[in-house]
């Protein structure tokens, strides 16, 4: 489990993850918000259905893909977390892409 360090005091925000509320801080990426809430498996792979979570957290590895507000294949490490955002784990290739 990751814990929040002293001094990292920023405005609290609330995200929804698969129906439940999770607490995060303004300035977090979606990946940081999920990890802070103890969620470390972000998706399953298309070929073998294996669980995956973030690896590089800098936009290079594409392992942290999640569904953000209904849009799949978003890089959780690059999307800033916002109050009220709906996050869901992504199964395989995720749902078809639709305009938000």
């Amino acid at each position: 489990m990751f814990r929040r360090l002293e001094g990292a005091s920023r405005t609290p925000i609330t995200l929804r993850f698969e129906g439940r509320a999770i607490a995060a801080r303004a300035g977090d990426t979606v990946a940081a918000a999920l990890l802070a809430a103890g969620i470390e498996s972000f998706r399953t792979t298309p070929r073998t259905g294996s669980p995956r979570g973030p690896l590089c957290l800098m936009g290079a590895c594409f392992d942290c893909l999640v569904i953000v507000d209904g849009v799949p294949n978003r890089q959780a490490c690059l999307v800033p977390a916002a109050d009220g955002m709906e996050i869901a784990r992504q199964d395989g290739m995720g749902a078809p892409i639709t305009p938000s």
Binding site: L5, G7, T29, L55, C56, I97
Partner: protein, 478 residues
């Protein structure tokens, strides 16, 4: 009218954008991240004093660089992903997405400052949740103030030690540090020591880090020659063997891996720029002159994306590339440019004195470049293992591109960023050819996935742009 686009807002990009804007150019700075600083200064420009002291980090450099940029007319655009860079007839064609909308523009000059990524470190279990790169773990600390308790660090390189020291400072010392540095590399590094001692500060810092790790009681195991992470739904334990055949196993929730950094070359490679194999750093890098000019001189590369030299050199290289861009734009005479570049060039030389020593000392051991265990996932995106790839090489698929066509390795979303060097090394090891000769994947734009509806949302005035590449004409009209 934009005169210059700078890609990446790390030390090199911030310096380049500020310097070029100060010289009178209309500069657009595009960065994929939500805030400036790149990886090394991630989150630092806006970090609170309490946060900095917890991590034992000084942010003076980051603050100064961001303040300098803010004092100029340069436009800074965070959250902008560049997916195409191509030399065109009317300038450099640049494709990027920002706020869900794709843009395709032509720009007279571009400075690429996309920095580095961590080297692929394929070991069994490295795909399990709970396994992060050391850089990723550091990003969480700096960007979100998140630290893992009782994590295990494994691999090689200064960043691994820096992370350990920062975790200790934050009150969450790692459970163990498994160092894969080899005795052979240490012997080879010794001959570079005299040159390194001319700028001894970083060496002394390194020694202080080792002392801090010892004092904190972190289990420090050296000369680790084999590693495997175990777990089912997530990472649970790490197993190792040392050069002296001592074996061990430790359980933890988090494992932070590091095997050095390499230039992020997907964009420059897809642009068709010339690249060369750097055998000292075991990576590809664009061929540049001392101003950072690539084989297309109006595209310059500054910072670690042009070869790993560290952030201090990166800042200097940003400045140098911008001065040369000002010269090309007719804003700065050759002698003025040369005079202005003297100081940053000196700084760069001083900042890189340690490099040959570091490159030799932290050269990855062969078994971490070419995975030995057949179950090791090589291509994380397409989930192709070493055991699946090896017979294809033996069968006679002797190039990375052939192997890619047959196996799908390198065809996933990351576009080879985390398997390209491994595939290249596997082929070289089996054929006996050199790494340089073996070559790399042929990369094509878009270098990052582009959503079709973001392209459809392009403004109509940009839609009239003459397509100058086959990809642009097909994808942008579909």
């Amino acid at each position: 009218m934009t005169d210059l686009v700078v890609i990446g807002a790390g030390p090199a990009g911030l310096a380049a954008a500020a310097c070029a804007a100060e010289g009178g150019l209309d500069v657009l700075l595009l960065d994929e991240n939500p805030a400036p600083g790149g990886q090394v200064w991630r989150g630092l420009a806006r970090a609170s004093r309490a946060q900095l002291s917890t991590l034992g980090i000084d942010n003076a450099g980051a603050r100064a660089a961001v303040a300098r940029l803010e004092g100029t007319s340069a436009r800074y655009r965070p959250g902008a992903t560049v997916w195409q860079l191509a030399p065109g007839e009317g300038g450099i064609e640049l494709g990027y997405t920002a706020e869900g909308r794709a843009h395709l523009v032509e720009i007279p000059q571009v400075i690429v400052a996309t920095g580095a990524q961590e080297r692929p470190f394929p070991i069994p279990g490295w795909t399990l949740p709970g396994v992060l790169t050391a850089g990723g773990a550091q990003t969480l600390m700096k960007g979100a103030g998140l630290v893992a308790e009782g994590a295990i660090l494994a691999g090689s390189g200064p960043l691994l030690y820096l992370l350990a020291v920062q975790m200790i400072a934050a009150g969450a010392p790692p459970k163990a540090l498994l160092d894969t540095g080899t005795t052979a590399a240490r012997r080879r590094a010794v001959r570079h020591l005299p040159a390194a001692l001319r700028s001894p500060a970083p060496l002394l810092k390194g020694l202080a880090w080792r002392r801090a790790i010892r004092r904190a009681g972190v289990a420090h195991i050296e000369a680790v020659s084999h590693l495997a992470i175990e777990g089912d739904a997530r990472a649970e334990a790490i197993r190792w063997r040392t050069e002296a055949s001592e074996e061990g196993r430790l359980e933890a929730q988090h494992f932070f891996l590091h095997q050095g950094v390499i230039p992020a070359t997907n964009l420059t490679m897809a642009a068709g720029l010339r690249h060369a194999w750097n055998d000292a750093q075991l990576c590809w890098q664009p061929v540049t002159d001392r101003w950072g000019r690539t084989s297309t001189p109006t595209i310059r590369v500054a910072g670690d994306g042009g070869g790993i030299e560290g952030w201090e050199a990166a800042e200097a290289r940003g400045e140098i590339a911008a001065l040369d861009a000002l010269h090309t734009a007719g804003r700065l005479g050759a002698s003025d440019r040369d005079r202005a570049a003297e100081a940053p060039m000196r700084l760069r030389t001083a900042a890189t004195r340690l490099r040959p020593f570091l490159d030799a000392l932290y050269r990855p051991a062969p078994q971490f470049l070419v995975p030995e265990a057949p179950e090791t996932v090589v291509c994380r995106c397409e989930e192709i293992t070493a055991g699946e790839l090896a017979p294809l090489v033996t069968m006679g698929l002797l190039g990375p591109n052939q192997l890619k066509s047959f196996s799908r390795a390198g065809m996933g979303a990351c576009q080879g960023r985390y398997c390209g060097l491994t595939v290249q090394a596997m082929i070289a090891a089996r054929t006996g050819r050199s790494l340089a000769e073996t070559g790399y994947y042929r990369l094509r734009p878009p270098v990052k996935p582009v959503r079709r509806w973001s392209v459809a949302a392009r403004r109509s005035r940009q839609a009239s742009l003459r397509p100058s590449s086959p990809w642009a004409s097909s994808a942008l009209t579909s």
